[in-house]
Amino acid sequence: MEIPVDGAPLIDRLRERSPEAIAELHALLLRAARFEVGRRRGALSHVRGEELDDIANQAADDALMAVLAKLDDYRGASRFTTWAYKFALLEAGVRLRRRAWQHREVVLEPDAWRALTDRQQSAHDQVEQADFLQALGRAIDTALTQHQRTVFVALALNEVPIDVLAERMSTTRGALYKTLHDARKRLRMELGEEDA
């Protein structure tokens, strides 16, 4: 795909490190970060507007550094603005998820699933769901390694955001998702679910 016409002038000026182009890029990234803050404002009603604007500014600043460092990776497979936006949305998203969980405890006990599946089971009156959760509980116990159990319980059962868990476990989103993927595959096999 050719480099889109709308992106070519800005990216050319960015490659020359034009201060005006960098300011233009920062404005674009700040707009994207504020857009993401705005989308999630409802879930962060306890956070002051000033702090949310700080989060948007920090996200735009870090996204600017990332975009400038990766400028040569832009292959023209998308509009330049779409490519640049994703860096700001990532930075803002990670910050907002971490802010939302800032004062929440993340339980990393691999055996914590027992209480959780019991709780979910009692909340559902459908026999099929209760049976599934019982089978899932057995599969978690027998088919997963301790690390897979910890990650699966936190991400899939406790719904801890992956970036929050990555920070608490000093690892990356990609590494955690790989563990989750492998755990899910083992559980599907154990439960007799179809797998490709």
Binding site: A32, T81, T82, K86, L157, I162, K178, H181, L187, E193
Partner: protein, 66 residues
């Protein structure tokens, strides 16, 4: 159940998702079959809530640009 056990079939990881997300979104906005051009993306977006949030945001933001 699918939320717990994730999508069936091949899926890309979070790093590849980030690398290809802009292309995927623009293909969708241009009315092209993005799933055929970026295999494994749809499954990943079904399995990873964080990447799905970023996909939704990028689609909305880029779509608003026209």
């Amino acid at each position: 159940m699918s939320k717990l056990l994730g999508p069936l079939g091949p899926e890309i990881g979070c790093d590849a998702c980030f690398d290809l997300l802009d292309e995927y979104v623009d293909l969708e906005l241009d009315g092209v079959d993005a799933d055929a051009r970026v295999p494994g993306m749809r499954a990943h977006l079904q399995g990873c809530p964080a990447c799905h949030e970023e996909y939704e945001a990028l689609r909305e933001l880029a779509g608003a640009d026209g």
